[in-house]
Amino acid sequence: MKLKTVFNHRDELIAYLRETFPDAAARSPEIADTRGGRKAAEAALAQIKPERYAATRNHLKGAVTRLAAYLRHGVLTLAEARRAVLQRGGVKAEKLVTEFAWRDYWQRVYAQIGDGIWKDRESLKTGWRPTDYAEKLPDDIAQGTTGLRCMDGFADELRQTGYLHNHARMWLAAYVIHWRRVRWQAGAAWFLEHLLDGDPASNNLSWQWVASTFAVKPYYFNRDNLEQFTDGVYCRACQRYRNGCPFEATYDELQTRLFPRASERVSNR
């Protein structure tokens, strides 16, 4: 079936898409502010500050590039992005080029194993068996009603904007897998529904990295870490800050709590 290609403005396009893709519109009707297209991609590329990126990228308000969706869909190539930031930043662009390399790395793994990205690459290092993890993503996580400001905020942002900062992706994935003990595949599928940059390789293999099936240890975090890189915006508004925050602990305590059966130390520090 042929679709329309001429629209007078964005609202007209969106109204047309709602009619043309009714199933998607019924499941998740949100529209992101992020614009598609080569012009928008070039504008994003022009704004990159490689040095600021290196200094601030772990912070939720850091100078990240937001190139992911354009790279995912090949609107820009990784080669072009690499060249552009090296021309501008020289050695100062090293950190950013290394992050680009992560994409290339996951793509190479995908080229090698194909749909194998949906299976555990290695065994779990958490002390739990694969069958100890729930098959399905609990509704309160997807709906953003866990009562944890941070995780609910991330779930809302994912649904509304189709984007999450890398650190938020890591925290949310760790929460799903290690605190709620849900199979990484369930979380990965949820992300792929919503992310504008949803990419089977980068997404699934990152989930596996958090889970420990593609890493030497699981990734987890504590409240201090989340508070630091969010300026405490979630914690300040959270009812559970002094009332059962599951992330408030030292890494040693969390290790005992989350991975009591792990044979080796899996500390993050």
Binding site: T5, F7, L13, A32, G37, G74, A93, V97, Q107, G162
Partner: protein, 152 residues
């Protein structure tokens, strides 16, 4: 070259794609793959993003349905006997490509995309994919240097 139909797919929504540059006058078609949309439950915002990318490709024809059937129909309508596209590592891409040839006798030529970093065969051979560091360390110096041929 009237016989060429360009197949635009979701891994290269780029108006400067090598396929478009090689055949600037050829008809070009993108198909929203209904099986993929349903399987991944892709959200409307993702479809909108992709649609906006597509609208910046001059004279693009956008379709939805079964990819192979839609491409075959477009080829018939335009009188095209072969398809040109660019590489994709998605397993589904290889399946669709084989099916176009098998069921519709449409050969698919696949053009390469510029790699992240140009590596020699020796460098390529040193890469191991077990961990990121084993991939990155052997090629790091090369990837962080500007290739002069592109520097003007």
């Amino acid at each position: 070259m009237k016989d060429v139909l360009i197949w635009i797919h979701g891994d290269c929504l780029n108006p400067h794609s090598p396929a478009l540059l090689a055949h600037p006058d050829a008809p070009r078609v993108f198909v929203f793959d209904e099986e993929v949309l349903a399987h991944y439950r892709l959200s409307l915002k993702r479809i909108a993003f992709m649609y906006e990318c597509l609208l910046e490709i001059p004279r693009v024809e956008i379709r939805k349905g079964q990819v192979v059937a839609e491409l075959a129909e477009a080829a018939r309508e335009q009188g095209c006997t072969r398809i040109v596209t660019v590489e994709s590592i998605a397993p589904r891409f290889a399946q669709l490509r084989a099916k176009l040839q098998r069921e519709h006798n449409l050969p698919v030529e696949v053009l390469p995309l510029e790699p992240f970093a140009e590596l020699s065969q020796t460098e390529q051979a040193r890469i191991e994919l077990k961990r990121f560091s084993r991939y990155w360390n052997p090629i790091k110096a090369k990837a962080l240097a500007l290739n002069q041929s592109f520097d003007w």
